[in-house]
Symmetry: C2
Subunit: 594 residues, 2 copies
């Protein structure tokens, strides 16, 4: 594939772009535009930015993704979690409403874009793998709770602050006396309406004869209805004069080209948050894109997705926007509405640009409480506490990582939360593999199979100790391997041979290799021969590159049965003479049981 | 075992302590004492501390280890690498020679002792496993080079400084004009003599009829000879007046009980270095102790060793010493000299206490150049550049970690070096396992074995795709697994069944489990059934706790052969009809080759 084609997927899909495709893309774009207008205003509010910044982040970034992205249905733009992370990162460096705050948000988009592009070019997408599913799920749940709590102030129409759940709740509680009742009424009605739209509108419309797909798309447009109605009400009754906070004047017109502030100190402070935003945005975006691509047996290219999202963020930065990524709900709507190529995103950009030019005066009287209601309803669908229970049932260790991520995110904020989750996942994984399952095995009578002596009726001799290790051998478990073998040998003074059975050993790294040499040396010193059996091809290739096999006091056997026949023919003979015990032979699972 | 017996190993070995054992321990103690006196002075110099601190660190800590340690031959006290790390950690907080510097060194010993004890009580010894062999080896090599370079100033008799190799070498070079020629002469002669003692004295003595073991021990006492001769020469010619730097007056008498400075800020700053010193000291110490224990088929208890070393460091702190651990050369001498129990260490402590009381006046005229020569000769034996080549041949990835550890340690100091090594080892391990080896397999004709289609002559059908994955499935590789499977399916539009063959899968964590669910869902969406085969017992147990097996579009097969017979009887039949190809059947290694 040419370099152009690799880095510009538009050359691939653009070549076969037809009038029919264009029509489908246009229809999807209209629907997504209607959905995106209130979302982009609301998420800008969540990020602590003026509403127009949300619109700006929904124009050029969409065009950039259409050029560089590989997903045919992903709808890029401001999203809830990334907006929260932006507010958290930028909020530490500048006060909301200042030019510095906006500058830092733009710099964050630029840095994040740069990182994504570099990760794509150097194919570092695997970094995203460090975020385990439970950590992501926990992080999203906790972010959803924090976001919903942070919007309460708009619903009540009170001033409030706080960086973690506790502070937010305390701050809201202490200001409750200042509640603006009209704002609260709008907030509650809008929230209730939007919940009903989400759950009840579609069945309602279907029952009245609408096609389900159309009913679904109409239901997704609910926020626009709420925006229109509350804006009209606010304008009609001049609610702005009665203490209801409105969006206010939004500068009309397209964004002017900007450059992010080039300030080494600022960039250094934003580097960590930018990396987290990049990785989390990428993970969320890629998982939606993959799900949608799979439905049509299409494929996305993760490394090129990094470049697509990176280009979007750089485009956001140079047009006065803030960090963006692929949105979940929005992409599903785009897909369901029939989008066939990334061109749909470009058409959406045109839609938002038109809105920015002509619609902004209509939004002056839009109550902030309506936007807050939009956010609350959207993010509460991200909260999945049931995942805690499912994960608990499946794996205690994953549950620990998930619970820690949720608690630390709620208690100490998004960055600390996600870093804690990642570090804990890695630590728990290393801990688990540092104590691999090892079993002393014996032969199942009448067969050539070897099984754990603690679980099965097997035959063993007194001179040969066979240990099976069920894990790759590497630095984190090499000392444990040594310890266990010395321990087993110390318990059995009559032992003359130790056989390490390696059918599940996919790798032996340099540390484990030295441990094997050490085991061989120490066992030799005390007159015990050390053998290996069932070593895998690639592992054996590597051992053969060293002189280990010359030092080895024993041998390497192709199968454990051959080892037994060579080292302890008596036991092999005894085993052969006995008919297999049904209980041992009729195991359901052939692999090595615990 | 009672709690007392668990935490006080002395109750176990003390119960059978005989007069013979005592004699053997005493002989070993005398020899180790003679070796330890110049070492403890020299390492205190290396740590930037007054010489008597080295002696203090060789009294109470040895008694503490005798009470709490499990190794019967480990000789605890000041060692080179830990002294260097102490100098590096404390040097950032205070100027050498000040009370703050000494106080910080004492606090470092206390903190490190506390951490070791806690790690022992909570059985956190596995933390030491994070230091892979190549990282330790690289770190020790680089530390040896830095230590040797740092002693050059004493050999030349010049002032000098620097925190990394480059700074040290530049600083020495810039001061060369101030060289004190008498000091240089002493330094060169002492160094040459000590090298000869190390390499040539033993053969020399053996050729003259001495028993090899005695010759060996005498050779180890070489530094005492160098100390005695140079001290006499310095005293006889009043070299102190001629610009030769001497050890000077050492306060006679036993250490007085001290308390480390309790200063929260200081402790916080020392916490990182203390952790590194604890872990590195523990790793070094345990590996010597294990080697020596294995020679007599004895065992040490790593978690109790943590408590033993922790108690030693706390003892060092309360008696005005600095961080200690088990020394390599010293422990080997102790073992070879016949030490049978930790009591030998307690007797050594008595020896050093007597030296502190009565010998210090004799050491006033000891030239610092002699101590520097002792250090240089001792640490250069730690430098093992050959390990770089061996590791390179065995594993590029381990080589990268080792080379990075050496370069960063030389260039940026010990703490940065070891942290870089650990992080890089973990990152490289995660990277390797994040792209596990996966092979499309087919049946070897005439057998029930399945092999990689790229490596072997095998039979495959067009409707069943069988993929074998050679790694546990966990968060770092679950997305890769998904990608690869979608890719393989996208390449084969005629596929109806995908079988994932799991004989090498030791674990499926929650992330990988969700990926399997997602693969199942997406394949179902496109009309492909998903099956598993050869799933291990423990992995299957866990899958059975979920409802995955109910959602699974396909089945779980005991063996891959059963899967083939059920899903594609035609191919199984074709395979059966053909005689096995010799090339495929006579593989040397039975495991799954690449």
């Amino acid at each position: 594939m040419s370099l152009f084609k690799r880095y510009l997927p538009i050359l691939t899909w653009g070549a076969s772009y037809t009038r029919d495709t264009a029509t489908n893309d246009l229809v999807a774009a209209v629907i997504v535009t209607i959905m995106l207008i209130p979302q982009s205003l609301a998420y800008a509010l969540l990020a602590g930015l003026p509403p127009e910044i949300g619109l700006y982040a929904s124009i050029l970034p969409l065009v950039a993704y259409a050029l560089f992205g590989t997903s045919r249905a992903l709808a890029v733009g401001p999203v809830a979690v990334v907006s929260l992370m932006t507010a958290s990162a930028v909020g530490e460096l500048a006060a909301q409403g200042t030019a510095e705050y906006l500058g830092a948000a733009i710099a964050l988009a630029f840095l994040s874009g740069l990182m994504l592009v570099l990760m794509g070019v150097f194919r570092l997408g695997f970094l995203a793998n460090l975020l385990s599913h439970p950590v992501i799920s926990g992080f999203i749940t906790a972010s959803g709770i924090i976001i919903a709590a942070s919007q309460l102030k708009h619903i009540f129409g009170i001033p409030s602050g706080g960086h973690n759940l506790y502070e937010i709740v305390v701050s809201v509680a202490s200001h409750l006396g200042e509640t603006n009742l009209i704002t609260l009424a709008i907030g509650i009605v809008a929230t209730a309406f939007l919940f009903w739209v989400r759950k009840g509108l579609k069945p309602f419309l279907v029952a009245r004869g609408l096609r389900p797909r159309l009913a679904d798309i109409l239901a997704k447009a609910g926020p626009v209805g709420a925006v229109a109605v509350t804006t009209l009400v606010a304008a009609a009754f001049s609610l702005g004069d009665k203490g209801v906070r409105l969006v206010g004047d939004i500068p009309a017109g397209l964004p002017t080209p900007t450059l992010p502030p080039f300030d080494a100190d600022l960039w250094l402070q934003l580097a960590g948050p930018a990396l987290l935003i990049s990785v989390i945005g990428f993970v969320e975006s890629v998982s939606v894109a993959q799900t949608l691509a799979a439905k049509k047996r299409q494929r996305i290219v993760p490394d090129q997705e990094l470049i697509g999202l990176g280009a979007s963020n750089i485009a956001a930065a140079v047009s006065g926007g803030y960090p963006v990524t692929g949105g979940f709900a929005r992409s599903v709507v785009n897909f369901d509405a029939g989008a066939e190529t990334p061109a749909a995103g470009a058409y959406t950009a045109v839609g938002i640009a038109l809105a920015t030019l002509f619609l902004t005066p209509l939004l002056t009287n839009l109550p902030q409480a309506t936007l807050a209601a939009t956010i609350i309803v959207a993010v509460l669908s991200l909260v999945d506490l049931g995942a805690l229970k499912r994960t608990f049932l499946y794996s205690r260790s994953d549950f620990a990582a998930m619970a820690a991520t949720i608690l630390v995110t709620l208690g100490f904020g998004v960055e600390t939360g996600v870093v804690t989750g990642v570090v804990l996942s890695i630590a728990l994984y290393l801990y688990r593999t540092s104590r691999p399952h090892m079993a002393v095995v014996g032969i199942v009578p009448g067969t050539e199979h070897f099984r754990n002596i603690k679980r099965h009726v097997v035959v063993t001799g007194s001179k040969v100790l066979t240990v099976r290790v069920d894990e790759s051998l590497y630095f984190a478990n090499s000392r444990y391997l040594e310890d266990r073998i010395y321990e087993l040998v110390a318990e059995r003074p009559e032992i003359e041979h130790v056989v390490l059975m390696c059918p599940a050993v996919n790798e032996i790294d340099a540390s484990a290799f030295e441990s094997l040499e050490e085991i061989n040396r120490r066992l030799s010193d005390s007159g015990v021969k050390f053998h290996l059996s069932e070593v895998k091809g690639p592992v054996m290739d590597r051992l053969e590159r060293t002189d280990f096999l010359h030092h080895l006091s024993g041998r390497v056997f192709l199968t454990q049965y051959q080892a037994l026949c060579a080292l302890d023919p008596h036991t092999a003979h005894v085993s052969e003479a006995r008919t297999p015990k049904k209980s041992a032979h009729s195991d359901v699972w052939a692999g090595p049981e615990i």
